[in-house]
Every structure is written in structure tokens, then in C-alpha cells.
């Protein structure tokens, strides 16, 4: 079985993101990491393999050569090989899902296991779009994944607004990982060294010849207003009054 894990490179969620005077993200002090939800997806793929399934894990990223650092990390975590679809301009979920669909058609994975969203733009679209493009089932927001013994289906527990829902999807399918699916492991040093010799292939995005998509234009970036200091209230009544009259939320 083959599992394809798309990897996005994002700023460290614990770091501080600043804007340059020109309104772009100031990359000087940014530490780049694998999108935490993608890391959870990759960890799950590794765990499925460790549970005894015969699985090949392919990590795919779409970006500049700088993204190879995150692909090497994916290889060190346990991916078997990695693929960089080289392209300069940042892509939106529409284009990303087309690139991933093109790769999926070539590679024919049984599962595309990916983060439910990226923590930078929080779009939460790529997995769903990808399933639609490939016309295969999708199981989003997974908090538990089990493969049937014959490997034809996956039983997925999903985190939904009303609680948890368990569904069975026929493979191939797209599964997107939620926060509680697992806790990714430490990357052991010997695995980091071993990752040096694992294959990492680059292909030019233009080669994939994806159809034109509706462009997404970024109008402007701005930092959120600083959070105002809190205030202690003396009683529940005072709190209710404040919520009703000052915050106007109830």
C-alpha cells in the first residue's frame, strides 16, 4: 500500500510573525516548520506501517527549494521518499489540489493522508478539493484511523460539531488529520542521518500541466490589533451587564 502525505512549510506556530513596512511577512526571524497537522498525518502513516501494514510513504511538497528542509525532516521522521514540486509563487488551495491530483494520478496511492488545514492561512480546503478532483471518498477531521485487514477500507473516527462520528471509506480515499489523532514523535538522530540517503526528487511544476484555476488575490496583510488588558469584575451581575452593554455579545 502507498500513502501520499502532502507537506506544507509554515512559520513556527510558537514564533512571532511580523510584517515588513511594505506589508509582507518579514521572513528574517521566521523559523519554518512542517505544518503541525501535516506532521500528525505523517506520524499516523508511520504508525499504520508500524502496526504491521506493508506501506510505502511518499511525502510531497509544493514550493521553492527551501522547502526541501521540511521534506528532509519528513524523511527523517519516517517517509520513504520525497517529492518537491518546484514552483516559486505561493499557491492557493485550488492550485495545490490540482498539483496533488496530478501526482496522485501518477503515483496511485491508496490513501492521501494530510493535515485538515495549514496553520498559516487556515484554509481547510485542499483535502476536500482533492477528493472531489479525484472522485474518491473523503474522511475529514480524523481522530482515529483503522485499516480493515484486507486493506480495502479505512474506518475513520471524525471530530464533528456534535461529537464523534465513525465512518467507513473505501480506498483509495483522502483522510485529513485533526489535532487529537496522535502526538508526533521526536525525530531520532540516527533517523536524521539515515534520511541523508533517502531519495528526494524535484520536478518542475510546469511539467504537471494543471488546468487554469480561479486566481486568489491577496489584497493586504495586517497584524491583529493588540489584545486589550483584561479587567476584574466584582460580581456575576456586573459581568452580564458588561457582556451585554460593553462587549455586546449577549
Amino acid at each position: 500500500m502507498k500513502i501520499l502525505v502532502p507537506i506544507k512549510r509554515v512559520p513556527d506556530p510558537y514564533g512571532r510573525v511580523r510584517l515588513t513596512p511594505g506589508g509582507h511577512v518579514d521572513e528574517t526571524d521566521i523559523k519554518w516548520v512542517i505544518n503541525p497537522f501535516d506532521e500528525i498525518a505523517l506520524e499516523e502513516a508511520i504508525r499504520l506501517r508500524e502496526a504491521g501494514h506493508d506501506i510505502e510513504i511518499l511525502a510531497v511538497a509544493i514550493g521553492t527549494t527551501a522547502w526541501e528542509e521540511q521534506l528532509r525532516t519528513a524523511l527523517a521522521m519516517g517517509a520513504d521518499r520525497a517529492l518537491l514540486i518546484q514552483q516559486e509563487a505561493p499557491a492557493d488551495p485550488g492550485r495545490i489540489s490540482h498539483y496533488l491530483a496530478a501526482i496522485a494520478r501518477q503515483e496511485q496511492p491508496q490513501i492521501i493522508l494530510m493535515g485538515k488545514q495549514a496553520i498559516d492561512d487556515d484554509c481547510n480546503q485542499t483535502g476536500q478539493r482533492l477528493a472531489a478532483l479525484l472522485q474518491i471518498p473523503q474522511a475529514t477531521f480524523a481522530s482515529r484511523i483503522e485499516l480493515t485487514p484486507d486493506g480495502t477500507c479505512a474506518r475513520v473516527t471524525r471530530e464533528v460539531d456534535t461529537g464523534r462520528e465513525t465512518i467507513e471509506v473505501t480506498l483509495p480515499a483522502v483522510i485529513t488529520a485533526d489535532l487529537r489523532l496522535n502526538e508526533p514523535r521526536y525525530v531520532a538522530l540516527p533517523a536524521i542521518i539515515k534520511a541523508r540517503s533517502k531519495p528526494l526528487l524535484r520536478i518542475d511544476a510546469a511539467q504537471l500541466q494543471i488546468p487554469p484555476t480561479a486566481p486568489v488575490t491577496t489584497l493586504r496583510l495586517e497584524t491583529p490589533p493588540p489584545r486589550r488588558a483584561g479587567r476584574r469584575v466584582g460580581s456575576v451581575d456586573e459581568l452580564i451587564t458588561a457582556l451585554r452593554e460593553e462587549a455586546r455579545v449577549i
Binding site: 528574517t28 528542509e69 527523517a76 531520532a188 538522530l189 536524521i192 542521518i193
Partner: protein, 598 residues
């Protein structure tokens, strides 16, 4: 072993160095950063949550943490691949030490195992000995311990009394003696024990289960409450001859391991300083007095800037030295029969620099931990914040692995010994410096091109001053610097300042040449370091010069023909840039980043 192109140990005294060939953290590869990240995450997510139990001296827990570190490969970084380790360069293992330091008991346990206990075996063991023990140490299956000190011998380690007597049939030695302050004693399976065979100091690999090995109770220490520190009592312990490392080479084994130990402990200090700066910055931004966060008060900003600058200085020295160590260690074939001779030479080559970072690092840590408590005020005196623990723990570093007094003397002795051997011609250079200072009338404040040029100028001034002092203090035949430790210590301080200044200048110059985005912050930190180091050198040099009359014919330093010296000393004590402005600007970066801004 191929000749290395990089300057040899002590070479910083003879030339200003090559910026583009000087390693600094900006040169880390993606792989090195990833290794650092594993160490950092392990420390933050697995070790730090256990601080209360570690501090209660739960040694079983400490042992488990070490084994866990072993499964991640964090114990095998220094061990060559052929012996089951990863054989990583010192630039990487220094980074690991840095990342593990915020829990100092854990960091010391790790250092004692991976460096001082393991390296005598790696450096001086035979292939068979290394094959037998190193894989177990690299994996964490066994933890090791370094047993050198005794009740009557600490920094004068080679006065040790433990005896090893060869059995009549020549199959084993009998070891008898008592070792003091032995880190990791509670759970180590292998002890690197130093003992005398007749008069020849020799290192032995003593397994915990050998008959006659017993232990004292845990020492009640000021800090490092999480490390196990006990006496190791050897009562006629039979040790097979195969477990003796080269007889009579024990003192080399100890000194070589200690060189790397001093380097690695202070690599840890870099991480400890960054942690303290982060903790202090967070606190100073939250705690308000007189209507504003204390981070906005000038005297607090002064402290934060000093902490930041000292971190920058030590970091610049440590990673420069790490690369120098790699230049001599990396070419060695670890399982070759002549490996010990090469390891011996390599581990000794940069002893001067290892000693310099030991002094400067441990003293910066002491200063930083003390100021961290001050910034935290009353809270700093409680266990609510990690600064009280840091203060207790770091105090060991000025004592352990060679007290700073003995290390200062060693710096001067090593330099002069190399001069006598023709390896490091500092006295010739010192004589030239003296002539130059006597003959020229340099302008009191030369024209500097820019701020970076000021750092360069100060670095060169302090280097010349160190050379001058080394020459003058030994000019008259028969002068005995050993009898004037105070002067040797002051000269060592000038030498230390020269190394710090030069390392900081090389890094800043490199970052500017590369148009690195962090160059502006580096330059600010570099300027603060330059002023502080120049002043320290000025003070120490004044002490040495005014005391030299005890050693040599009185020279009136402050009149002809030494006007050049007066001018030089003036430059070290008077600056165009306001220290206040530099520090406030540097602090602004610290506050913006919430900690170390480089």
C-alpha cells in the same frame, strides 16, 4: 593525518583571523538545525516537566531520562559510527549541549557520561576495548562515570593516591582508593577510574559489578540536586589487564577529556544564558512597577543588554572553537592502531581556547544567573521561577572540571610552554608589539571607518596588549610567573578578552560581508561586547603592569618610551559610542524577540 590549514591552537594571538572561514551558528545546515530541534523538544517536553522530581534527587527517573535520550541518539553523537555512535562533528554536539542546558542537572549528567567518562576510552582505548564498551555507552544501555578527584586532589588531580597493583600472574590489577564527587555514581555501570601503577597514572575501565566496588551516600550539594554525586570506594578491586587504558598515559587521558569537557560544558552555558534571557525578558515585560513594565526601566534594560551581549560573545567563541576542534578531530580514523596518538594531539591542540571559554563561560553564567534573580526581585529568591535553581546549579561550573584559578594559570602556562617549544612564537610577537608601542606616537583616538571597524580596532589593541604582557612578564631570565599567580591571572584575563573580542569581530565581519539580515543586531551586540571586553582588559592589564615591578626591573609604563602603551590603554577605556544608547537599542531587539535576538 593531513595537515590542517586552520591556525593551530593559540594562533588567535598571532593573527586577526579569517572571517569567512570562521564558523558561527548562522552556518548550521538544515540537518544540524533538525538535530538541535530534537534535543530542544526532548528537553522541553520530556525533561522540563519533570523538574520537581529531578530536583528531589529521583535518580531512577534521571537514569530513565538518560536511557530515553539514548534511544533518540542523544548519547551517541560523539561516538564514531564504527563503535555504534553517530560520529557527529563538534559543531553539532555543541548544539546538542546548548539545547539540553536549561535543566542543568540533566545537562551535567549527560555531559559527564558522553564527554569526560567516554572520551578517555575513545581517545586512548584499544580497538578491542572500544568495541566492547563504546556501543553500550552510545546507546545508553550503560551510563558511564568519570572518577578522578579524591579527598586530597581536586584541581591538582594528578596528586591522586588511588593505587593499582599488578597481580603476580599478570592477569589483573588490584585497585584501592577512594574517589570523591563522582557524578552519575548512583546508576553508572562503567567507571573511568584513574589510579597509579607505581608512579604512572593510568585510566581503568571499572565495571560497577566488580567485587570490592562500593559507594558513599549522596552528597548534600548547593545545587545540581538532580545529579547523583557520591564517593566511589575501591577496596582491592580486581580489574582485568584488558581494562587498563595505556599504562602511564592516564594523565593525558584525563587532561584531553577535560579539555573537551570544558568546551562542552560551556557550549551548554550558551543555552543556559539564552534560557535565562528568555525567562527574564518574559518576566520583565509582565511585571509592572511605577506604571510601566520593568522592561522599560533603564537599569533593567542595561541588565538585559549585558546578558544578551555575553551570550553573543560566548556563542561566537564556542562555535568558532567547535570548528577548530573538528579540523583536528575529524581526520582521525577512530579504529586505526595509531588513533590514540592522533587523538592525544588533537585534543591537546586547542587546550588554550578550551580553557578560555571555561573561564569566560562559567563567569558569564554566574553573572547572568545572579542578575536574573535581581530582575525577578523577591520572586527570584523563591522556587516559583527557574532562576533560583539556575543560580545554584551554575555555581558548580567555576569549580568543576578545573577551578577557574587553575585554569587561568594553565592558559598562560600553555602559551609560554608552546613558545618555548617554538610552536607559538608569542614572545617574538610581544617584543615587536613592545617596540611598536615604544617607538610610535599613535593618535589617542584613531580614525575608525565605522562601528565594525571600532570592534576590529579594539580586538587588535587587546591582542597586542596580551602579547606585550606575555613578553614583558617573561623578559628577564629566571622570572617565575608561577610565584606571581596574580599577574598570570591578570594576563590570562587580557588573553581571554582578546579571544572574545576577536571571535565577535570575525562573526560580525562575516555577517556583514554576507549581507546577513541579522547583521544589524549582531553589530549592536558586538559593540556592547567590545566595550565591556576592552574595559575588562584595561583593568586587568593595569593590574598586571603596575604589579610587574615585583617580577622585573621597574619600568615606568606611563612615560617615555611607552607613550604608545598609554594611548592604547586609553583607547580601551574611552568610547565615542554611548554605552547607554547601544544597550537600549540592543534591548529593544531582545524585547521584540522575547529573548535572544540572534
Amino acid at each position: 593525518m593531513p595537515e590542517t590549514l586552520s591556525p593551530a591552537g593559540g594562533g588567535f594571538l598571532l593573527e586577526p583571523g579569517d572571517p569567512l572561514r570562521t564558523f558561527s551558528p548562522e552556518d548550521f545546515t538544515a540537518e544540524q538545525r533538525l538535530i538541535g530541534q530534537t534535543a530542544e523538544e526532548f528537553l522541553r517536553n520530556t525533561v522540563l516537566p519533570q523538574v520537581p522530581r529531578i530536583e528531589q534527587g529521583d535518580h531512577a527517573l534521571m537514569h530513565r531520562l538518560m536511557q530515553q535520550a539514548g534511544t533518540l541518539g542523544l548519547l551517541g553523537a560523539d561516538v564514531p559510527e564504527v563503535y555504534g555512535g553517530l560520529g557527529l562533528p563538534q559543531t553539532t554536539t555543541a548544539l546538542i549541549a546548548e539545547k539540553l542546558n536549561p535543566q542543568q542537572s540533566f545537562a551535567l549528567t549527560h555531559e559527564a557520561h558522553t564527554v569526560i567518562a567516554t572520551l578517555p576510552l575513545l581517545f586512548f582505548g584499544t580497538h578491542e576495548q572500544k568495541q566492547r564498551y563504546l556501543p553500550r555507552l552510545a546507546s545508553g544501555e550503560w551510563i558511564a562515570s568519570f572518577a578522578l578527584s579524591e579527598a586530597g586532589s581536586g584541581s591538582d588531580a594528578l596528586a591522586l593516591q588511588t593505587r593499582a597493583v599488578l597481580s603476580p600472574d599478570g592477569t589483573h590489577y588490584r585497585l584501592t582508593g577512594e574517589k570523591m564527587w563522582i557524578t552519575n555514581a548512583a546508576f553508572a555501570q562503567l567507571f573511568t577510574v584513574f589510579a597509579r601503577v607505581d608512579d604512572r597514572v593510568t585510566a581503568f575501565l571499572v565495571e560497577r559489578d566488580f567485587p570490592g566496588v562500593s559507594f558513599g551516600k549522596e552528597e548534600h550539594k548547593l545545587g545540581m540536586h538532580g545529579t547523583s554525586t557520591r564517593r566511589v570506594i575501591l577496596d582491592n578491586v580486581p580489574v582485568p589487564v584488558e581494562n587498563a587504558l595505556e599504562v602511564g598515559k592516564g594523565h593525558y587521558a584525563a587532561l584531553c577529556a577535560l579539555n573537551l569537557g570544558r568546551f562542552k560544558l560551556e557550549a551548554g552555558t550558551v543555552g543556559g544564558l539564552k534560557y535565562l534571557l528568555e525567562v527574564c525578558t518574559t518576566y520583565a515585560q509582565q511585571r509592572r512597577t511605577f506604571g510601566k513594565p520593568i522592561a522599560q526601566h533603564g537599569l533593567i534594560q542595561h541588565k538585559l543588554a549585558t546578558l544578551c551581549a555575553q551570550t553573543f560573545a560566548l556563542e561566537s567563541m564556542i562555535y568558532r572553537l567547535a570548528q577548530d576542534l573538528d579540523s583536528v578531530l575529524a581526520p582521525i580514523v577512530p579504529d586505526a592502531p595509531d588513533a590514540p596518538a592522533h587523538y592525544h594531539r588533537a585534543a591537546e591542540e586547542f587546550a588554550i581556547e578550551c580553557n578560555i571559554v571555561k573561564v569566560l563561560g562559567s563567569e558569564a553564567y554566574s553573572h547572568a544567573a545572579d542578575e536574573a534573580i535581581q530582575i525577578h526581585g523577591g520572586y527570584g529568591y523563591t522556587e516559583e521561577f527557574p532562576v533560583a535553581r539556575a543560580w545554584r546549579d551554575q555555581r558548580l561550573l567555576r569549580i568543576g572540571e578545573g577551578a577557574n584559578e587553575i585554569v587561568r594559570i594553565a592558559i598562560v602556562n600553555q602559551i609560554l610552554r608552546r613558545d618555548r617549544a617554538g610552536r607559538l612564537t608569542v614572545r617574538d610577537a610581544g617584543q615587536k608589539a613592545a617596540q611598536a608601542l615604544a617607538s610610535t606616537t599613535l593618535p589617542a583616538s584613531p580614525l575608525y571607518a565605522d562601528a565594525l571597524d571600532v570592534i576590529r580596532g579594539l580586538a587588535e589593541d587587546v591582542r597586542q596588549l596580551a602579547l606585550l604582557l606575555l613578553f614583558q612578564a617573561t623578559e628577564q631570565p629566571g622570572t617565575d610567573l608561577q610565584e606571581m599567580q596574580e599577574i598570570a591571572g591578570a594576563i590570562a584575563d587580557v588573553i581571554c578578552a582578546a579571544y572574545a573580542l576577536q571571535s565577535v569581530h570575525l562573526r560580525c565581519q562575516k555577517l556583514r560581508t554576507r549581507e546577513h539580515p541579522r547583521y544589524p543586531v549582531a553589530l549592536l551586540a558586538g559593540q556592547v561586547v567590545a566595550q565591556d571586553c576592552a574595559r575588562a582588559a584595561h583593568t586587568a592589564a593595569g593590574y598586571a603592569l603596575d604589579s610587574l615591578s615585583e617580577l622585573v626591573d621597574t619600568i615606568d609604563w606611563w612615560n617615555e618610551p611607552f607613550t604608545g602603551l598609554s594611548a592604547l590603554l586609553d583607547r580601551l577605556d574611552r568610547f565615542d559610542e554611548s554605552p547607554l544608547r547601544l544597550r537600549r537599542e540592543l534591548t529593544a531587539h531582545v524585547l521584540e524577540r522575547g529573548g535572544y535576538p540572534l
